[in-house]
Subunit: 305 residues, 4 copies
């Protein structure tokens, strides 16, 4: 066996995924979480937080284009964007490609994660942290939004899964989504990653419960999916808006919008990709529709690890 | 650790997936391949051939509905269906739900696989082998088609991956697809599973090379995808027809067709699922478009294991 | 990778061992524990209880000769032997080879384990259960000894590790060893397996704590070791006697005793092996000497799993 | 699962061992082999060459005391010692504790391994490289011995296993042992590590074949064993001498010799440990005795990896 160093992720007590480690670039335990920057076989450089793969060089474009471009193109003119989390700077990178954006405020709780990614993962942020439109704050994003009256056109929630003792679980609750809604302009949109999209075991609970919780706060909520190979399970996302009637599938001029509003070319996202992402398979829609769980500060959701 | 018995699949030399084994129902080495019928954690009963997960109780409906219903509903009146492989009988089960079907001829090389699945996996075949419309033959499907002049409305190729020394690799070549085409009525369609749909490493080579090889034989070829969680990687399928101009995305009355032509209710497939499956993301379309490889009898493709 | 079915044992949260599974012979959950009878790569058939390898065809002779022959040869004329546990019958097999033995009473709590081993592991017991000198009871060995006044020349404790919720942990306590001592004739000896013999992490705690607990009950206690490859860590044993002054290393005529008292030939045990087993390395002796822990009914020891 | 980074070693195609990685200190591919300096769970810092664990902080004392002290104490007055390999400097450290030693010449092929160990594993070498008695050369030890007429009292061969394409396989042959013998003073001794000592599968082949090959060159050859937990399998060593009649078990004053000739205190080795190491169990002696294989330059032995 040529490979002898492995990164292992348990998806549940019954199932896991392993990838070979080619190189160890940096590992530490920050104030908030364990942090690894590794180079993986086939996937290249990657960021790992609390033992969970966050993004890899070879497929992060799927995740970040999926998170950023649908909400920004569904907005007529997104000028002010708020990013909750976003550690490695790739969400920021995609936001800044939108010519309309005048301010991108990124609030990540973990200064060390951002600092190490800035140094060691330049392919991910591509210099975005130095763009003059960017404001970067290191604090709890929820507290920041609660204490600052500034409002935004789009808010992107790009945080790791709500594991116990991790920094993120209070950013998955009804109360937090209410705070987010209060900081949105009209028109306004949010998008977030919502965990694995699967019907197996307890695996899809985060996706469906986040979706259900968003529906208790926002009149318009749309779920969508994208397959990021390094996650080894399809991934769920949600879009939401304080205005009723949002229907992402009615957006038919994605290719034109990309040409006119986004700099450079995209690898994952276009009209057909957009259509595919929002056309969830029936069993996933069934699971979302049946979900009753409401995530609240005093009834938080924790995912397995 | 509660679990101590594991099924491990290497997706490449760099990456793998493991699932706990709850129960061992049957294992043997047949004339053609190793065969395991296991019960897995979260996934339930499953069929494993040559160490590769073929289908599990909890998510086989995704694979089998994806393979069968698109070609049968794109055909105006499928009466005669040929199944290449199809061991556990679930493809047959879905075919038989189509009211129009008058004959389903299934040719699997491995009598022992079919016999054990018939006995141990009744939830998969649901008695399909006893349907009077079914003819079951145990021989090499390619030779069968070459030697018999009978023609069919739909041919479904439901075989395991082309691993070296496995029984399937000569069923992935241009020459075989030509045989298949020669046994199709007009109108006629084929559908097949084509391996992992990924852009990472060599992982997606089977999908793109099969797609390219089909294009050298059939005027109409469409690729599509579905996520079967137990495969841990999105799965690729292809549809092809000897008639030009086939456009699956133009099929807008899937829900009506299901109601009128299929018995019972589906869990995975409907109009929106159909739209999602055929709306491949841009990077997968790019990879398919760039593929040059032609799989031929004297230049076969083998997937990693 | 040729192998895709694995048995995995965690030795600690930091370390584990995996062996390929060739064949699944039987698996169930009995009234007391999970039970697997498997065929492993290189090791052949094996017995697994609660996920822990108990013995394999290729190396069980090491364990069973090490457990049985030292105490029986140190006794001048062992006629009556009591076996606590001993599921697969291999301890019984070695006991019955001693020509002096007139009665071997084996008490195992788990009738199903013994019954399945009798049927599926004949190479292990070699018909021992049918020997007219054998009495077999299925009950709790501790209660049996407490309730029956019968006494024995040698008592062998051949039970699985004291895992939480497992059936064995009350057979590792000072109170139990007192019961055992009360049922020993004079002269009399006991021998038992005592878990991993290692200085790493918490791994050797069972061995040293059992040794220390025995010393609180018996005047003579000797620790010894043998390497059973399938355990992947050297294994600890203890001998004890109610008479002071027992020194196993002073036994110099092992080869003669084997010839005169044991039927058939041994593969592991002889004079030099005896000398090696009782000549513990210094760091293990140091660890045993430093151990303070006393295992008692209300302060039981549980090993990791 | 708290741990998500693992070091995995296959012992054979059927079996392996994994240990958690706590910290990555250094990894590279040198001119000769892959090199990792890691911190492992429970075992602490370690050296890994070509994916094989060489030594760990918590148990390297076992391996190095076992390799060094028996030959040096069996020699009446070892002044000049040659070390073949010995990368991390721990063999050197033990040699230098012998008051009689006036020169220790260490020849390791891989300058980068030694340099990185010197920097990152000071607990292993403990400054030995700076001892004025030490001469360190970076070249092929076999060529060095062939080209230099200098002779030695003790030669220690401390090299990694003979894996294909690794740097060591020509240091396991009859021809090399002849070179070594030619550079020994009279009296003189060599000691070497000889791979896993097991009777399972092909695992013990290196040990028995090395032993057999040594017997074709040296009149006196003794095999011995020690259990190094991180190797997960007992380890074999051999002693050899150009003089007939060497019997390590006749050495009865080990404790006195340690006091008079070795500085500091030992953790593993003393009289009883010595006796235990050279008292091989019968099945291992049987395997050694049955071995016919002679390792030669044109019939080298490669161990599995």
């Amino acid at each position: 066996m040529k490979n002898y160093r492995w990164l292992t992720e348990l998806l549940s007590p019954e199932e896991g995924h392993f990838v070979s480690i080619r190189e160890f670039l940096f590992s530490t335990t920050t104030e908030y979480q364990s942090l690894d920057i590794l180079e993986l076989g086939d996937y290249g450089k990657c960021l790992v937080l609390d033992g969970r793969l966050q993004s890899t060089l070879e497929d992060e474009f799927i995740y970040h284009e999926a998170l950023v471009h649908p909400p920004l193109l569904l907005h007529p003119n997104p000028e002010r964007v708020f990013i909750v989390g976003g550690g490695e700077g790739a969400t920021l990178r995609e936001v800044l490609r939108h010519r309309s954006v005048r301010k991108a405020l990124m609030v990540d709780i973990d200064r060390e994660v951002v600092s190490r990614c800035k140094e060691l993962l330049p392919e991910f942020h591509q210099g975005s942290f130095d763009d003059p439109r960017v404001v970067l704050e290191f604090t709890d994003a929820r507290r920041y939004l609660e204490e600052n009256p500034e409002t935004f056109d789009v808010i992107l929630i790009d945080i790791s899964e709500p594991v116990e003792e991790g920094p993120a679980y209070l950013l998955f609750t009804r109360e937090f989504y209410q705070v987010v809604k209060d900081r949105l302009n009209r028109p306004g949109l949010i998008a977030l990653q919502a965990g694995a999209a699967t019907c197996i075991g307890a695996g899809g609970e985060c996706f469906s419960a986040v979706h259900n919780t968003l529906e208790s706060v926002f009149p318009s909520v749309s779920a969508y999916m994208a397959s990021v190979p390094s996650f080894s399970i399809p991934w769920g996302f949600c879009l939401a808006s304080p205005e009723p009637g949002l229907d992402p599938l009615s957006l038919r001029d994605v290719d034109d919008l990309i040409r006119s509003r986004i700099q450079g070319s995209l690898r994952f996202y276009d009209q057909l990709t957009h259509q595919g992402m929002f056309s969830l398979p029936k069993h996933i829609r069934t699971r979302l529709a049946e979900e009753q769980r409401l995530i609240e500060d005093n009834a938080p959701l924790f995912t397995y690890r």
